[in-house]
């Protein structure tokens, strides 16, 4: 299968701070890949690099074999990359419907758009009930549904999710992960940053482990779950011993 997304020795900086250090990722079409790592290891920066908010200083990022350097955020979205941001980041004083509209900002209105809207409603019946409500008044779980729905409105090939489980109750986390699996089965590739390593590895095909801006480990999710380093550092191995 061809690579949908590829990082080739990418380095990024914030001012003097070297964040990603010669990072390589390859994500094939149809995969769920998760990116594990502690806080400040460069996970969110990876997401920002994909979206073009933090451009690489060295190295390149390719999407469908095309380099992304110089491509605007809007064009990345048009090409099929959609972000689900950390902590949801809905527009709190816009209605749920307007939030979904913002997801489709780069697209022309038309029957295709309506179809995608219907798809979101099918995935998240609760979203349909709340269309006229201001997004800021929703519960955390509902907000996450809208955030995913908003990303789906771009009809993405690649969904980049930044900590979808953050701040959600366990039962909701499971729900979100089930939906992620479903979206993936419908053909969307998923690249997911997650702190909840166990959950993430349970649905992912492959994973990368990031540490101080470097990929220190990668492989099939099932193998990584057996890896000692992962077990100790990320799976809360103290539970399982």
């Amino acid at each position: 299968m061809p690579d949908l997304l590829e990082f080739r020795s990418v380095d990024t900086y914030y001012g003097d701070l070297h964040v990603l250090k010669s990072v390589d990722y390859r994500i094939a079409e149809g995969e769920i890949v998760c990116l594990l790592g502690g806080n400040a290891s460069g996970k969110s920066t990876t997401m920002k690099a994909i979206m073009g908010v933090v451009p690489p200083r060295r190295g390149e990022i390719l999407f469908q074999g095309q380099p992304l350097a110089g491509v605007s955020v809007a064009d990345r979205v048009r090409r099929g990359i959609a972000p689900v941001l950390e902590a949801r980041r809905l527009f709190p004083r816009m209605t749920v419907y307007e939030n979904l509209e913002m997801g489709a900002y780069t697209r022309q209105p038309g029957p295709e758009l309506e179809k995608d809207l219907e798809r979101v409603f099918t995935l998240f019946p609760v979203v349909k009930e709340r269309l006229k409500q201001l997004a800021g008044t929703l519960s955390g779980g509902e907000q996450q549904m809208v955030a995913i729905g908003r990303a789906l409105m771009t009809r993405p090939k690649l969904l980049c999710m930044d900590e979808p489980s953050m701040g959600l109750a366990p039962v909701l986390v499971e729900q979100v992960f089930d939906i992620v699996k479903m979206i993936n089965r419908q053909g969307t590739t998923i690249f997911m940053v997650e702190q909840n390593a166990n959950m993430a590895l349970s649905i992912a095909h492959r994973a990368y482990v990031l540490q101080t801006g470097q990929v220190v480990l990668s492989g099939a999710a099932a193998e990584l779950r057996q890896n000692d380093l992962i077990r100790q550092a990320y799976l809360g191995e103290m539970v399982v011993t």
């Binding site: 502690g38 902590a87 909840n196 166990n198 101080t212 799976l235 399982v240």
Partner: protein, 667 residues
């Protein structure tokens, strides 16, 4: 042991820092030369008009120095600074002129003895000495500085600027509308010129030039001394990160007001000089454009840099007084020569503000640090110096900790029923936990579960909605952050709150703020006690930094924004230790560190604990938690869902479900 003795050898950077102190001597020599030139200026130039312009320039340099305290040091953008200039000017103007002339009565007799007033035609003539009024005007202006500063304390930078602008406009309008006191728009009449040992200053510019020069020299000296003191560091800490400053024990209210007051005092004294020289004052002399001109001067010269500010002020004044007129003359002559009508009427003396505007925009776009930047970057380290000499804890004394009191027993920190709400969201719900003295407690939980909020509530950065926090038996809920720090709770931040443009050493010295005593007078006069305190503080700072081996010591003069992530974490911990805490709250101290660095830091934390420090840490790396903590508290959705020794907690069903997800048991 002196710093020199301790630091020769392995850390060449320190040696060069000490060398930098000796270059002060060359600096002193060049300063003496400059002063000589300034002193000889009037007799050499021998042109009253030029000396007059120079005297005015010095007045504006003095004003710029005052504004620099507020804007450059403390980072409080003041757009109405001219108001304090006005207040100083009118204070002298009213007390040394014919403006106020109440009827004479016996009440005034004692003042007559003091030569403050005299009787003229049955009315009182105020004739307070200029020299007496210099400090009095400064004090009056300082009072108004506090009065106008107080309401702005909670405001963000740009809104603070607008409020000061409002006050800055109100003062001259009130002056214009209060003719009894100020003679309104016509301006004060007959302000008395100063007299010194019988010498009448009169209208000749030279004596004013010398007074102005003395004032500028004095204010530069004061500014420089303040900047290099505990007080200057507190101001710069507020400028760099207000929350960080408060968490390090800086009383924000006090130091902001101090900056306003001192800045205003500079302007008050200068106002007195200025009005004595002009022998009149009109409200138009103190409007918004004056405040902006002063802002342009310090932006141009370099905010926060005392020399830069003076140079900026002088250059712009010279431009205004001489160059613009000359330039207009040349352009007009050129216009006649080539017979271009409009060039013959060009008058650029009206256009100084155009130039100010251009300077302001260009400086902001291309050189925000000004002509002479306040902080310079130190060259990077050589490869040799960069090689880390790992220090794996194991130290058994640390002067920076001071003497930890005798071993306590029982809990040091007791939290009961702590609840924090953000709007409708409950961030902490009735959290209770207890930290035994000399123990290490780890707080774990998913991101967003309220761990950092807990730290914020304990350290006073956040006001809890209900609940109690007792530290060493004392209720601390509701106390301001700097007082809680002083009691002995220090912290680090998950996202780091270092002062980015200060050096590593300065950051650590700010941490010592609450343990040092130097006050305003001490900072300027520097009696032996102050010098010793400062010297000891620097020595202690170095000792604390050496906890981390050679990771930070060679970099003490580097601004922290040039450090690596791991070194920033270490610098923040060093800064927290410098506060001499009993309880240290570490928010993800190992985030962004690789396993080797993590292990190294864990050892160092363990050593700090053995020295008697009680530690609470938020940590995601479970190996670190198991390794360090006696007790683990698990937060989820703002509630404590489990607590106990690591062994017990890790078997707790609820923890497994909440923190580790459903598949934990699958593995």
């Amino acid at each position: 042991m002196t710093i020199q003795a301790k630091l020769t050898g392995p850390w060449p950077e320190v040696a060069s820092w000490l060398r930098a102190r000796t270059t002060l001597r060359t600096q002193h020599a060049s300063m003496a030369c400059l002063l000589l030139v300034a002193l000889l200026f009037p007799p050499l130039i021998n042109n009253d008009g030029d000396v007059d312009a120079a005297a005015n320039a010095l007045s504006f340099a003095a004003l710029a120095l005052g504004l620099n305290i507020v804007v450059g040091f403390a980072g409080l953008l003041d757009l109405g600074y001219a108001a304090f200039f006005a207040i100083g000017a009118y204070a002298y103007g009213a007390l040394a002129s014919w403006q106020l002339h109440p009827a004479w009565s016996s009440f005034w007799v004692p003042f007559q003895w003091l030569d403050l007033v005299s009787e003229v035609d049955g009315a009182v003539h105020f004739q307070v000495s200029f020299w007496l009024m210099l400090p009095i005007s400064a004090a009056i202006a300082a009072f108004f500085g506090i009065l106008f500063g107080a309401p702005t304390l909670r405001l963000k930078g740009d809104y603070l600027a607008i409020v000061t602008l409002g006050f800055g406009e109100i003062v001259p309008i009130v002056a214009r509308n209060s003719p009894t006191l100020t003679n309104g728009a016509q301006g004060l009449n007959g302000v008395l010129p100063p007299v010194l040992f019988g010498y009448q200053f009169g209208v000749d510019a030279t004596p004013y030039y010398y007074v102005g020069l003395a004032l500028v020299v004095f204010l530069m000296f004061t500014s420089q001394r303040l900047k290099m003191s505990r007080i200057g560091r507190a101001w710069m800490a507020i400028r760099e990160d207000e929350i960080g400053a408060a968490a390090m024990g800086v009383d924000r209210v006090r130091y902001k007001l101090m900056a306003f007051a001192i800045g205003a005092a500079f302007a008050g004294a200068t106002g007195t000089l200025y009005v004595a020289k002009l022998q009149t004052a009109t409200p138009e002399m103190f409007m918004f454009p004056v405040s902006v001109m002063l802002l342009v001067m310090i932006v141009f010269g370099g905010m926060g840099n005392v020399w830069g500010v003076v140079v900026g002020a002088l250059i712009l004044q010279i431009l205004q007084s001489w160059l613009l007129q000359d330039l207009s003359g040349w352009l007009q002559a050129l216009g006649e020569l080539i017979n271009v009508e409009w060039l013959q009427h060009v008058d650029l003396s009206q256009s100084i503000e155009l130039i100010f505007g251009i300077i302001l925009v260009l400086m902001m776009l291309y050189r925000r640090q000004g002509l002479i930047p306040a902080s310079r970057r130190v060259a990077g380290l050589s490869l040799d110096e960069q090689a880390a000499q790992v220090s794996r804890g194991g130290f058994d004394a640390l002067a920076g900790l001071g003497s930890i009191e005798e071993r306590r027993t029982g809990p040091l920190l007791e939290i009961e029923g702590l609840t924090v709400r953000f709007g409708g969201l409950v961030a902490l719900r009735s959290v209770s936990l207890s930290v035994p003295a000399h123990g290490i407690v780890a707080v774990i939980g998913p991101n967003g579960s309220g761990k950092s909020t807990l730290f914020n509530a304990v350290t006073g950065l956040l006001r809890a909605d209900s609940g109690s926090v007792r530290f060493a038996g004392q209720q601390i809920a509701g106390m301001p952050a700097h007082r809680i720090l002083k009691l002995g709770i220090a912290r680090t931040f998950q996202n780091l709150r270092l002062f980015p443009n200060l050096t590593v050493l300065e950051n650590v010295l700010v941490g010592m703020h609450s343990r040092l005593r130097t006050g305003l007078v001490g900072a300027v006069v520097r009696p032996p006690g102050t010098n010793r305190e400062e010297h000891d503080a620097q020595e202690r700072a170095l000792e604390i930094l050496s906890v981390f081996g050679n990771r930070l010591v060679p970099r003490i003069n580097h601004v922290v924004s040039s450090l690596s992530y791991a070194n920033r974490r270490r610098a923040e911990i060093a800064r927290a230790i410098a506060t001499r805490p009993k309880l240290l709250l570490l928010d993800e101290p190992t985030a962004g560190m690789n396993p080797a660095e993590t292990l190294e830091l864990a050892d160092q934390i363990k050593s700090l604990n053995r020295l008697g420090l009680t530690i609470v840490l938020i940590e995601h790396k479970l190996d670190v938690v198991v390794n360090l903590a006696d007790n683990v508290v698990v937060l989820d959705h703002g509630e404590v869902i489990a607590s106990g020794p690591p062994d017990v907690v890790r078997r707790d069903e609820e923890v497994i479900r909440a923190y580790l997800g459903r598949s934990a048991n699958v593995a």
